[in-house]
């Protein structure tokens, strides 16, 4: 029952990253990211409640749940929306590779992750294997999303999706890394997000656009 629920939720996270690839506009990326973080939050809630029931004491994963809700579901999407409204926004087509082909490539990435994880003999637990496949696929799709979008905002969303995949992997395969590591990770990624946000404004000021295609002065 518990494992089925986790499986279902992590499959939904994988599907939500496909939805992300299918999105055409910046604002819909942000909503999809919020939805994906909500799914991640519900996984962490489930893991923490189970931990509390089994061990009969407060489970630290619950704090991670609160952090994910506070930052990834509420604050980061809000800041991103505000950023994307402030910076110049004219290019309608924001992708290099068209969407059907992107979907096919992402399907290929899932198969690749499946192949890689199944070739590791040491992972004997079938559920863990599946969770690793889902989370690695999310990481790969996030990476693909970053390289296939032209706008700086798209790259930030891709980065956030990659870290969602990492959190998924950490939470499900090892039932949470040690607490201070998770905190540090969260803090690091939050800072990375803030710095990237600042750089979006800087790019917008100096290049009068956030089109990454214009960043082509340095070569060789």
């Amino acid at each position: 029952m518990y494992n089925n629920a986790l499986n279902l939720l992590s499959i939904l996270i994988l599907i939500s990253s496909f939805v992300l690839i299918a999105n055409k506009r910046q604002n819909s990326y942000i909503s999809t990211f919020r939805f994906q973080s909500l799914l991640l939050a519900s996984i962490s809630l489930l893991v923490s409640i189970r931990g509390m029931l089994v061990h009969k004491k407060f489970d630290e994963v619950f704090i991670i749940f609160l952090l994910i809700v506070l930052f990834k579901v509420i604050l980061i999407p809000m800041v991103l929306k505000r950023t994307s409204q402030k910076v110049e926004y004219t290019v309608e087509k924001d992708f290099f590779i068209n969407i059907p082909i992107s979907m096919l490539i992402c399907g290929g990435l899932v198969v690749l992750s499946w192949y890689v994880i199944y070739s590791i003999e040491g992972i004997t637990n079938l559920d863990t294997k599946n969770y690793l496949i889902y989370s690695m696929s999310v990481v790969m799709i996030g990476l693909f999303f970053m390289i296939s979008r032209k706008k700086a905002i798209g790259q930030i969303v891709g980065f956030l999706v990659i870290e969602n995949g990492m959190f998924l992997a950490a939470m499900l395969t090892t039932e949470g890394m040690p607490m201070f590591v998770e905190f540090g990770l969260f803090f690091d990624l939050l800072t990375a997000f803030l710095i990237m946000g600042i750089f979006v404004f800087k790019i917008n000021d100096t290049f009068e656009s956030i089109d990454i295609n214009k960043l082509k002065n340095l070569k060789g």
């Binding site: 890689v116 070739s119 590791i120 003999e121 040491g122 992972i123 004997t124 637990n125 863990t128 690695m136 990481v139 990476l143 970053m146 700086a152 790259q155 980065f159 990659i162 870290e163 990492m166 992997a169 950490a170 395969t173 090892t174 890394m177 040690p178 201070f180 590591v181 540090g184 990770l185 803090f187 690091d188 800072t191 990375a192 710095i195 990237m196 750089f199 800087k202 790019i203 100096t206 290049f207 990454i212 960043l215 082509k216 002065n217 340095l218 060789g220």
Partner: protein, 494 residues
């Protein structure tokens, strides 16, 4: 002891904001850098007595400094001290010309302290998770340093640096999660120690080899992005060439070593678990040769002297990777020795480019002639530095490259040795062809007056030159025993 490492940069970075007197700002930072250098030497003395420095109390399992981390720590703090000294004249000059404001100077000092703090944290912790966090934090702290001048080029470089390194390092996190997973399924122990490299190394034989193999690939790619191994090196030439020269010196001389340190720790765990170095060795040899080859190709066509030096950093990281990949005592000793030589030589060269840039206002090789006549000290240091970095005797880099080749031949890796020598020759030719134009002839621009920047910057360059010549001729006994201890640790000893 350990808190000194963490507290000094925080205090020094914070104190610069209190005052408006620029001499006091420079001095605060310099004293902070000197104190960290002293603490790292003190740590090394303690390691010499007790093998390792550990912490007590609630952070008992978190911090651990042994010879290897102490050695890289020494390089880091020494380079930071010399760079801080140089920054006084470099940024003092820029302040005089109103290129930067006083606020920017304070920002530079705070960020460079944060940058060094992150590197120190990566070195003194034994927790892989914290190490990852610290290495990611180095990217964040230095992103603004790379984009310091806020012009088109530097912002582009900073954005690339930020994105490529953050994404690359995400893969290292996946690798660390797998490492942790392998320790949780085989070991009882408490949760936190499952991420400690010391614990993993001691229990390496009971970890699962197939998980470790895949974890190593992820970590090699992840930290390798930060090291600048080809083909993940694309951020490196941009960031190194666009950052202010003191920052370039830190990025190239110190940061790359910190990232390679992360790889070394995992390397020794995986090698101990697998019982041999075939797997990790082949991967490292491949990446190493690829990096050296890439550097050789690009050195031939560069027109920007800082970019040439950046590509040369990729080459030298490749040589260190070869040393680690061959994995015999000789080659690992060579890799350790090379780390020191490269850090000092490359810092010297980047600092020299700082002087050149302030004088000529261009990064193009074509715009610079008659360097030795215009700036005698910088010019001569630069010439000798170019010879040192391309591996001419009697400098340290010659010795360590030579030992790497010897190591390769001893372990019958003739093709590796041959390719290494070939690419080294190409790189030497490239350097001479490109850079030598800068030194001779007459300065075409008569507005540039002769003379050095000031006494401090020249003396830093001369000190660094003395270090690399001295270490090339004779390795002092304490340094040698330190490097021997490091070699033992890389080979799996504790």
């Amino acid at each position: 002891m350990i808190f000194a490492f963490l507290a000094i940069p925080v205090i020094a970075g914070g104190l610069v904001w209190i005052t408006k007197n620029k001499t006091v700002i420079h001095l605060t930072n310099l004293i902070g850098a000197l104190l960290i250098l002293i603490s790292s030497i003190a740590a090394l003395i303690e390691i010499n007595k007790f093998k390792a420095v550990t912490s007590t109390g609630i952070f008992k399992d978190l911090f651990y400094i042994d010879s290897l981390s102490g050695y890289i720590l020494l390089i880091t703090t020494l380079a930071f001290f010399l760079v801080s000294l140089f920054s006084i004249s470099y940024f003092g000059e820029e302040l005089k010309r109103n290129v930067i404001t006083l606020k920017k100077l304070k920002l530079y000092y705070s960020l460079s302290n944060a940058f060094v703090l992150a590197m120190i944290l990566a070195l003194i912790t034994q927790n892989m998770g914290v190490m990852w966090i610290a290495i990611e934090a180095t990217t964040l702290a230095s992103a603004f340093l790379v984009g310091f001048y806020n012009n088109k080029r530097s912002i582009e470089a900073a954005w690339k640096y930020l994105i490529i390194c953050s994404v690359g390092i995400a893969f290292a996190m996946l690798g660390i999660i797998l490492l942790y997973y392998s320790s949780t399924i085989t070991q009882v122990g408490n949760k936190i120690s499952g991420l400690n490299w010391n614990f993993l190394l001691q229990n390496a034989s009971s970890l699962d080899p197939s998980i470790l193999k895949i974890a190593f690939i992820f970590i090699l790619i992840g930290f390798g992005t930060k090291v600048g191994f080809s083909p993940m090196h694309t951020w490196l030439p941009d960031a190194h060439s666009q950052a202010p020269s003191p920052v370039s010196a830190l990025l190239s001389g110190v940061l790359l070593n910190t990232a390679i340190y992360g790889i070394i720790r995992v390397l020794s765990i995986v090698n101990t678990c697998l019982g041999n170095n075939n797997y990790t060795g082949n991967l490292l040899l491949l990446l190493g040769i690829l990096s050296i080859a890439t550097a050789a190709m690009f050195v031939l066509v560069q027109q920007d002297y800082k970019r040439i030096l950046a590509y040369s950093s990729i080459e030298h990281m490749g040589i260190i990777a070869l040393g680690l990949g061959i994995c015999t005592p000789v080659s690992i000793f060579a890799a350790m020795y090379h780390t020191f030589n490269h850090a000092m030589t490359k810092s010297m060269l980047f600092l020299a480019t700082g002087n050149v840039y302030l004088k000529y206002h261009t990064k193009k090789i074509a715009g610079i002639r008659g360097l030795i006549k215009t700036m005698p000290v910088t010019g001569i240091v630069f010439v000798l530095g170019v010879f040192a970095i391309t591996g001419m005797p009697p400098f340290g880099i010659f010795m360590s490259e030579f030992s790497t080749v010897v190591g390769a031949i001893q372990s019958k890796k003739y093709i590796i040795a041959m390719l290494l020598l070939l690419f080294l020759a190409v790189i030497f030719a490239g350097f001479v062809k490109q850079i030598s134009k800068m030194f001779y002839g007459n300065n075409p621009n008569s507005e540039i007056e002769k003379g050095e920047l000031d006494f401090i910057s020249s003396s830093v360059l001369i000190v660094l030159l003395c270090i690399i010549i001295f270490v090339g001729i004779y390795i002092p006994a304490p340094l040698k025993s330190l490097m021997d201890a490091c070699t033992e640790i890389v080979l799996g000893g504790i």
